[in-house]
Symmetry: C2
Subunit: 353 residues, 2 copies
DNA sequence: ATGAAAGCGCTAACAG
DNA sequence: CTGTTAGCGCTTTCAT
């Protein structure tokens, strides 16, 4: 069935089939080749390896491309070359400035090299993560960036089977699948804990999501408390993605359940901001009644009154760096022994602690 | 050149070519067909039109798929069927919660129907927008969602040539390319202006970006001032994407240049928050010295002290609705006369005005 | 520096 | 309900 012929050569007449779409199909390489007086391969070369062509040939092809408004079909190219020039990114949610910033950096890095970004969000569900990896594998993406570590067995196996470079971000896995860029959430939580302990707070609490990264930060906080001989922090779990309102609810509940509390570490700044606002409403002085500490150093943390102490992480750089690592590998760099980039974090002391 | 044969049948020996990648290529439909004792089309049908197959056949195919861990090559499928099941989205930037929320909604809508999202950011540059449309057209995306209207001639032409459904979002174009979902930025600006005027403010200013949508809101503010006989608002342009720090700088500059000012409308809440924080630092009472009004109703607006008056828009719903419109069209709905969905906005009065 | 031949892995049309 | 046939539009060898 020469379906193309139906559409093109016979289209005006359309005697064979009653197709609706009689409109002209877009130009193919062959038309361009004919217009330029060369063969289709030459057009392909003009697009992919222009330096291989004689200048006049190249000019003729380019002019034909412009005249015909030729738009190359990259799908066909991907199939033939087995390279899609697409990178898949999987994030827990887009409803959080954290991951948007990472995507921003990643998108920029990829764009510079003509790669494109296929995006999926998991809603913090491992099953969705596996489904997305499978879908991306089906699309034959050239690489995959994950926000968070792939812990579920199925996901790791699917990633390995996809046989493409993978970058895990936002944490430093002990056994990375391939590459990783981020920081140690546990160390960050511990640093936050030390900060609180060092400032004299004695009865700590944690409020945050139950995703792996938040849990790692909680472990760090627990480490810090234990190291200084304090009792274990009180823990309040929140659903993901968390909102400002969750922060307000959390602080109310925590201080009601445990009036002795003098410091709370939230797993992100939005939560801490919600808590700070609630404290203001209820007349609980911050930090004298209770100290509040956030995470991520979102813009909101700096302008809030009292300004929120937090842990700064470099979300955008994580994305940029992940993109660069991937591109370097795709450009042919040999696979080094597991490559891990630690971008670190820093505790930011402000008025709320 | 049976390249596949080189890799597969001769791979262990590899006498013909010195290829590096001797590893097994992933299974194809044909292997699955053989394993299931059917022909390749039947495998294709098991995947695409399962209800067309006899239950036992379907079961046999599915079992073979599982056993071989077959992952279908969607690139080949797209080429053959001329449908990619990919939707392209173009946003000015990912570094703004506004568009992330829209993408969140869009991603969800698409995901429900097995479509995937290809993402590009323009950095607020029309030339990038055109480049992305071309790139997406080359990928043969099934539809395109734009955040903002396509005003540049080249972009509109490229979109028309792509011959796919297009949804413009975040404003209501007078002459939509195809479909649109959003709200009238000019009306929103006018409503904000009325709000300020009605509360007795007399000397207004505007601070915001110079993208089309911000400009439309400014026009609305100008309308409102003119309608009530006030002098034209003072205008302070900021670069995109704007930051909290820009808001702080803007308020300082505006009140220095024009001490008579009693109200400022910012083109987003981040700017307004930065301004509010700066006012707090400088001891300028809000709203008695100067009233501040934001835009978008980001979470920060509600928890700030004083809470920021703003204009609420439904960023997430815009994405969701755009996705639904697109999917309906892709599912075969006839193209109606230009479809425009006005999701509206609402003025939110809080402490800052 | 250019061309000819041979697929990439899948799906649509048609037949049975 | 299932199979046969014929491409989708491009890139890759290999040859000249």
């Amino acid at each position: 069935m020469n379906r193309r012929a139906d559409r093109r050569e016979n289209a005006p007449i359309s005697h064979r089939t009653g197709r609706r779409r009689t409109a002209a199909a877009p130009a193919r390489m062959e038309e361009v080749a004919r217009a330029a007086g060369v063969s289709p391969v030459t057009v392909s070369r003009a697009l992919n390896h222009p330096q291989q062509l004689a200048p006049e040939t190249l000019a003729a092809v380019r002019s034909a491309i412009d005249r015909l408004r030729y738009v190359r079909n990259l799908t066909a190219g991907s199939l033939a070359s087995n390279r899609s020039r697409i990178v898949g990114a999987i994030v827990p949610t887009l409803a959080s400035s954290l991951f948007s910033d990472t995507l921003n950096g990643l998108s920029e890095a990829l764009h510079d090299q003509g790669y494109q970004l296929l995006l999926g969000q998991t809603g913090y569900q491992a099953s969705e993560e596996a489904a997305l990896v499978r879908a991306f594998a089906g699309r034959r993406v050239d690489g995959i960036v994950l926000a968070g570590m792939a812990r579920a067995r199925g996901v790791r196996a699917a990633l390995r089977r996809a046989a493409v470079p993978v970058v895990e971000t936002w944490d430093l896995p002990a056994r990375p699948i391939d590459m990783a860029v981020g920081f140690s959430n546990r160390d960050a939580g511990r640093a936050a804990g030390w900060h609180l302990v060092d400032r004299g707070y004695k009865r700590l609490a944690f409020a945050g999501g139950s995703d792996d990264r938040s849990q790692a930060r909680l472990l760090g906080l627990i480490d810090a408390a234990a190291q200084r001989g304090l009792s274990a922090p009180l823990v309040w779990h929140l659903p993901n993605p968390s909102t400002i309102a969750d922060g307000a609810a959390a602080i109310t509940r925590l201080l009601t359940d445990e009036p002795e509390l003098d410091a709370v570490f939230f797993s992100n700044d939005m939560l801490a901001a919600g808590a700070a606002a609630e404290c203001a409403r209820r007349g609980w002085a911050v930090p004298s009644r209770v100290a509040l500490m956030g995470f991520a150093d979102l813009p909101i943390a700096a302008v809030f009154e009292p300004a929120l102490s937090t842990v700064q992480v470099r979300a955008r750089e994580i994305g940029r760096c992940a993109g660069d690592l991937l591109l370097r590998r795709l450009a042919g760099a040999a696979r080094p022994a597991a490559r891990i980039v630690d971008l670190g974090f820093s505790v930011v002391h402000r008025g709320s602690t």
